[in-house]
């Protein structure tokens, strides 16, 4: 009798083990089969990044300051716009986006002036910013660009966080553009409370000029050279995707020819000017005059104007001119 019990016990034990193994295998199999789909990446939804703030009136739409050191120009420009506290709040994470594209020294005017970057960072800290990030996705080797432009050392000296571009920090975004659909974007630039564009005025053989709106090239990863195939619509698409809190255009030194990187000091003109404001189209339109161009000669300005990103007719705006000399 007990032998039967033992056999039955063994029967139950072995059947349940085998049954469990079979069920598990079947369950896992069915689950894997339900995941069967053609491999493709998940994409985020269309994004428009706006970092605009409501500026207390009556502030000028644009300020043009000339005749001082880079730091002095920045201070005067921001003061005339209402002070940095009008734009940066206590505890903000502020991203400064200078042009650190090229392996050049400040005198060659291929990158934003390091003193400009430093002063802007200082003003942000004074206004209560918790963190100021300085970064760009360079064209040449980023380590050399950040170092030789002087921007890394001047930013570090004031306590800003300098970020070298790193591969894992690019993520595909769906831009809301006419031409640009999905592009890898360098996420530290868009993960912020406020974003300040710090471009420099330079000649560019394809787009005629590279200033504020084209500076957003520096947030793109991937094969961004393809944008050249329709550069004007691309620039407008970039400016549609991201709308900065402030644009501070560095025209202390302007690269007049052989841009966007120059190399020869004879390509550079010392203008000692800064243009600042919240209308990126107007600022680019004004900056074009430094290169001897009219706004009509830059097709991307017309496209941006039509899209309502700003006003390319500077004479219709309240522009304040200050000369410190």
């Amino acid at each position: 009798m007990s032998e039967d019990k033992a056999n039955r016990r063994e029967f139950l034990k072995r059947s349940s083990q085998a049954g469990l193994a079979a069920l598990t295998a079947t369950g896992v199999g069915l689950w894997l089969w339900s995941r069967n789909r053609h491999p493709q990446q998940e994409l985020s939804a269309a994004q428009v990044r706006s970092y605009l703030v409501k500026v207390p009136q009556p502030a000028p739409a644009m300020v043009v300051v000339s005749g001082g050191s880079p730091g002095q120009l920045v201070v005067e420009a921001i003061r005339a716009l209402g002070g940095m506290r009008a734009f940066v709040s206590r505890g903000d994470i502020v991203v400064l986006k200078p042009n650190i594209g090229w392996d050049r020294v400040p005198q060659q005017a291929a990158n934003t002036n390091p003193e400009v970057v430093q002063k802007v960072a200082e003003l942000c800290f004074d206004a209560g910013a918790q963190k100021v990030v300085v970064t760009d996705v360079s064209c040449n080797d980023p380590r050399r660009c950040f170092k030789r432009s002087g921007i890394a050392s001047s930013a570090e000296a004031i306590g800003a966080t300098v970020l070298l571009p790193e591969e894992r920090k690019f993520r595909d975004y769906r831009l809301n553009g006419e031409l640009l659909s999905v592009w890898p974007i360098y996420t530290p630039i868009v993960e912020a409370d406020k974003v300040i564009n710090l471009p420099i005025v330079k000649h560019h053989n394809l787009s005629r000029a590279t200033m504020g709106m084209k500076n957003w090239y520096g947030m793109l990863g991937g094969r961004r050279s393809q944008l050249h195939q329709n550069i004007d619509v691309s620039i407008a698409d970039l400016a549609t995707f991201i709308r900065p809190t402030l644009t501070i255009l560095d025209a202390y030194r302007v690269l007049m020819s052989n841009g966007p990187q120059g190399g020869n000091l004879n390509d550079v003109k010392l203008l000692k000017t800064i243009v600042a404001g919240t209308d990126p189209v107007a600022i680019d339109a004004f900056g074009a005059t430094f290169l001897g161009l009219r706004a009509e000669q830059l097709p991307y300005l017309t496209i941006a104007h039509k899209r309502g990103l700003g006003n390319k007719n500077c004479d219709q705006l309240n522009v304040k001119n200050i000369n410190l000399a």
Partner: protein, 581 residues
């Protein structure tokens, strides 16, 4: 003795299994172990520093240099000094310091092998992972074997080749071998593995894990992680050869050092006059064989036979374990033949055959096409390189230039430079390009194959100038090649689509790439004006950034070949740059 007890003994915590060796010997052995660890750490530190990491401090400087003398191990390598002296009849820059090691070896013996050599230390470490061998078998396998004379024959063949300016020593000289294997094989592989792990953490999108990944990157990027992943041709085979060498230690202790190392062979020959060595009290020896079990160099430390001075690594293991105090190391030891053999065990005929092999190989190298004629057009050498025949007499294929290049452009050749030029450096513009203001490769080359240059020399400006033109007509930039357009692939030329990324990235001023607007009719009947690029070959320096950024990335529409390189008098297009000015 396995690795763990090795480390423990280093700390003085665990006694050696044969405790009753001489105290004096054990103390020197401890110094030797500390020395090995220190030099190996120094080696790895310098290797990790062979990269401009972009760490920023608050001071600005326009000139970028590496902080440390990263090539010092290569420069102090006696075989590098000797073989380049034979092939170039000179000693380059810091290679003079190798005389310190040479002098030391002549005076003391092969201390370098036992106390300094990083590959020696690594081999020593991996030799402790052995299958369990007991007793007689263990003693037998650790004896001196006749095939260990191979390293001398290799050395002679290499010297014969060097005499006729074909420098092949770098292939198996241990320091270049180690630097190259780690730089182009092992470290890139480790980087990829680490990155995959850290990026997987980061991609989880969980805040804590992302912070962990960022922290991992931050900690590791000051050492083992490079700024960006580096890729190299033939990385697999170079890495596998290295791993094979490591694994061979499992079968024969210090296999490389005993059987292959030409540097060890060279130092074995140099130690002929050594003032320091082993003396044995043969009467006290009772054949316990402990000395043989722990011997690193296979130099016959046991009693009743002569000690092989040329094989000894001065590891002091034998002195530390001998229970009867047979072995003593001292200055001016006795030179009687039953005590010591100062010369390595070589057969005269084999020696002659080795030299002959070198002499015979060289004309066959040179009669192959590649050097004299039909040079591979894609063999673009780093800026500052000397003319090709001199280059092949200097390059030790150490891979320092490949490691330091910020764009990862410098790659090992296979046969682009002929069989003679295996694993010498060339630039591959699809991988990287020559950064216009960078001279780092010339700073790290130990032998002057890439002669040390300054930025001013590279750009063709008089030293100290800040970029103004029209000063000196004599100062011409260093060119490594010339760019050419494939108008059948270029967007504006072949497809009537605007582009000119190449022109944008061209670093010279005035730009070597210039454009002319042309009106074209497209396939749909519309007309458009496109800017079509061309190269001014007099301005072009061959940096290759155009090829690197060209959107037609599978086979770029603008590409660089080596013609026009300033290091060659004959490989020129233009009359003005030719040899017959």
């Amino acid at each position: 003795m396995n690795a763990i007890s090795w480390l423990k003994t280093l700390a003085g915590r665990q006694a050696v299994s044969a405790e009753a060796g001489s105290k004096h010997g054990r103390r020197i052995r401890r110094f030797r172990r500390i020395s090995q660890v220190l030099f190996l750490s120094l080696f790895f530190f310098l290797l990790f520093q062979t990269e401009f990491r972009g760490t920023f401090d608050k001071t600005y400087s326009e000139i970028i240099r590496l902080k440390y003398p990263v090539s010092i191990f290569l420069e102090m390598d006696p075989l590098v000094a000797f073989s380049t002296a034979v092939s170039t009849h000179a000693l380059y820059n810091n290679v003079i310091w190798a005389l310190v090691v040479i002098a030391g070896t002549i005076l003391i013996g092969r201390f370098f092998c036992g106390w300094v050599c990083p590959l020696g230390t690594i081999s020593h470490f991996f030799s402790s992972f052995k299958p369990e061998r007991k007793g007689k078998e263990r003693v037998e396998t650790n004896h001196y074997k006749k095939w260990m004379a191979t390293k001398y024959y290799l050395l002679f063949a290499l010297i014969a080749l060097s005499l006729f300016t074909s420098l092949q020593t770098g292939l198996i000289d241990p320091i270049p071998f180690l630097v190259r294997s780690l730089s182009t094989g092992i470290l890139p592989g480790i980087n990829i593995a680490l990155r995959k792990g850290l990026d997987y953490l980061y991609s989880s999108n969980v805040g804590v894990l992302q912070t962990l990944a960022d922290a991992g990157y931050k900690v590791l990027s000051s050492s083992i992680l490079s700024y960006k992943p580096q890729y190299y041709h033939y990385s697999f085979i170079i890495g596998m050869i290295f791993l094979t060498v490591l694994v061979l230690n499992r079968f024969i202790t210090r296999f490389w050092c005993r059987g292959i190392c030409p540097l060890g062979a060279f130092m074995g020959l140099l130690s002929r006059f050594s003032l320091f060595g082993m003396e044995k009290d043969h009467a006290k020896c009772d054949d316990c064989n402990k000395c043989i079990m722990y011997c690193q160099g296979a130099c016959d430390p046991q009693g009743k036979v002569p000690w092989r001075q040329a094989e000894c690594h001065l590891c002091f293991n034998c002195d530390s374990v001998c229970p009867n105090d047979v072995i003593r190391f001292k200055f001016f030891p006795k030179l009687e033949t039953q005590s010591v053999n100062v010369l390595p065990d070589l057969k005269r005929r084999r020696v002659i055959e080795s030299f002959a092999a070198g002499f015979v190989a060289l004309p066959l190298f040179r009669s192959s096409l590649g050097l004299a004629k039909n040079r591979n057009d894609r063999l673009i050498r780093p800026p500052g390189s000397v003319e090709e025949e001199d280059f092949l007499g200097r390059c030790i294929r150490c891979g320092e230039c490949m490691k330091v290049c910020p764009t990862n452009a410098i790659q090992p050749t296979l046969f682009e430079a002929g069989m003679e030029g295996l694993w010498t450096p060339m630039l591959v513009m699809r991988v990287g390009y020559c950064e216009y203001n960078c001279v780092l490769c010339s700073q790290v080359c130990p032998t002057g194959a890439i002669w040390k240059i300054t930025e001013a020399e590279k750009l063709g400006k008089p030293a100290g100038a800040d970029g103004s033109t029209g000063t000196s007509r004599k100062a011409k930039p260093i060119k490594i090649g010339t760019a050419f357009y494939d108008r059948g692939r270029c967007l504006p030329w072949a497809m009537d689509i605007p582009c000119i990324v190449c022109e944008e990235f061209c670093p010279t001023s005035p730009k070597a790439i210039w454009v002319l607007p042309e009106a074209v009719t497209r396939s749909d009947g519309t007309t458009i004006t496109v800017q079509r690029p061309r190269v001014d070959v007099d301005r072009c320096v061959g940096c290759g950034i155009c090829e690197n950024v060209c959107p037609v990335q599978d086979r770029p529409a603008v590409y660089v070949t080596n013609i026009g390189e300033t290091r060659s008098r004959t490989n020129q297009i233009r009359l003005e740059s030719g040899a017959y000015k």
